[in-house]
């Protein structure tokens, strides 16, 4: 492919915004904020991807999905690179992504509540109150944490004490 006929970087971002996250398919990889860079190096397209959790089993599926999607758009010289810095946090999830999560029944993360190592305050809080997470179905804040881990490593398990529905909370990292 000659340099002049490369699909533009914006076009590639557009294609990537249509690739769903394999575990939470309502949001795309760009909503999730894990695509860190797209650039042409000569005739090779380089896509830099950051992992959500270092042990996330979806990482290799995500790479495969990116490759499949871009190849289907005719890109044959492609390289995926892992980029760890800056580390992914839930703050990278876009506003649109948060709305999609809520509509899907997953409470989106609350910014600034990630476990950041300021432990004294957190431990003090721990024995008493939970963070207030609103139920994505009825909006009630009368909810309780059941488990720090839900159906995937990135989610915690909560229950609404008003509508009695259990739900996932995309916990902060």
């Amino acid at each position: 492919m000659a340099a002049a006929t490369h699909p533009s970087v914006e076009q590639v971002w557009g294609w990537l915004s249509e690739v769903p996250d394999p575990e939470i398919p309502v949001i795309s990889l760009t909503d999730l904020g894990i695509i860190r860079g797209v650039e042409w190096q000569g005739d090779t397209l380089v896509v830099r991807v950051t992992p959500t959790y270092s042990g996330c089993p979806a990482t290799s599926i995500i790479n495969l999905d990116i490759e499949t999607a871009l190849r289907s758009h005719g890109i044959d010289k492609l390289r995926l690179e892992r980029q760890l810095t800056p580390p992914w946090t839930t703050d990278w999830i876009t506003q649109a992504g948060r709305e999609k999560l809520r509509a899907y029944g997953i409470a989106p993360p609350i910014d600034g509540t990630a476990a950041d190592g300021v432990l004294a305050g957190r431990i003090a809080r721990m024995s008493g109150a939970n963070l207030t997470i609103a139920c994505p179905r009825c909006g009630s804040t009368n909810t309780e944490k059941i488990s720090q881990f839900g159906s995937t490593p990135c989610k915690a398990n909560y229950r609404c004490k008003d509508c009695l529905e259990p739900f996932d909370y995309f916990k902060c990292l």
Partner: protein
């Protein structure tokens, strides 16, 4: 280390050194690169501790007292294995012998592992597993804080990534230690028993050797002893709330970081490495 021909032979560095002493003028004796060797060893210590504890915790999968705890333990194990891939991947890069993280995890024998002994302790009951996790998490958290400031940017970025995960591991294990310690008479008794049994394995986390000293001098990793104050503070806080008594003894089993292990590690490796040993190169 990169100049050594065969890293899978146990104690090859030691053999090379003995040979070099016996035949100082011999031109063909390989000389290990001291700096890289210490760096490689340090990465193995961090990576192997995450790997062996991750494997231990994964043994709970399908056996926990409640579904939520089963999922939680499996996820903590998964984080640790993910971190292992990063640490051992870097170890292979530093070693420069073309070994991948998988090669290091699956194709070394017990004497080549450098994990802390506390990581290979048997799980015991659920409380015992959580106490081990808490003692480890509190140390791991301090270690990663130090490593995030490493003079080697590859170390710093892995530590920054892993530190975010370990912060919630510590939050979870602290929470459960408090709930079980300050729980029923039975749960309190078991948690105190677990703390007493695991205490002699905690001291190794803070013991340094010449390799640690080299790493600290080069700003690559913190001096193990410097992690003690932060760890002590976390323990006082959490164990105090859990109404548990911190043992007075400072006796510490040691040797894991130098490759001298308890009988338990061999059984872990036998299970973990079976597939790659029986079917070399198998993948899915």
């Amino acid at each position: 280390m990169p100049s050594l021909p065969d890293m899978t032979t146990p104690q090859v560095a030691e053999l090379a050194r003995h040979q070099a002493e016996a035949h100082p003028a011999h031109p063909t004796v390989p000389q290990p690169d001291e700096g890289q060797e210490a760096f490689f060893e340090t990465l193995l210590r961090i990576g192997d501790s995450a790997l062996v504890l991750g494997h231990r915790v994964s043994e709970w999968c399908g056996h926990s007292p409640a579904l939520e705890e089963d999922i939680a333990l499996a996820n903590v194990a998964l984080d640790l294995i993910g971190q292992t891939q990063l640490w051992l991947g870097l170890a292979g890069e530093v070693e420069g012998q073309g070994r991948s993280a998988d090669d290091l995890a699956y194709l070394r024998d017990a004497w080549d592992f450098r994990n802390l002994l506390i990581c290979e302790r048997p799980n015991g009951d659920f409380g015992h597993t959580l106490m081990r996790q808490f003692l480890f998490d509190a140390w791991h958290h301090e270690l990663l804080k130090g490593l995030a400031a490493s003079s080697d940017p590859r170390v710093a970025e892995i530590a920054a990534k892993a530190g975010k995960e370990v912060a919630y591991h510590l939050e979870r294990s602290s929470d459960l230690v408090v709930r079980l310690g300050d729980g029923t008479e039975e749960s309190h008794r078991r948690m105190q028993q677990a703390l007493d049994a695991l205490w002699p394995y905690a001291g190794e986390m803070f013991l340094g050797d010449d390799k640690d000293a080299q790493m600290a001098a080069r700003g690559i990793a913190p001096d193990p002893a410097s992690l003690r104050a932060g760890w002590d503070a976390t323990l006082r806080h959490v164990l105090g709330e859990a109404t548990l008594q911190i043992p007075a003894s400072d006796f510490a089993h040691k040797g894991g970081k130098q490759g001298i292990h308890t009988e338990h590690l061999g059984y872990i490796l036998a299970e973990m490495q079976f597939l790659q040993r029986a079917y070399p190169g198998a993948s899915w």
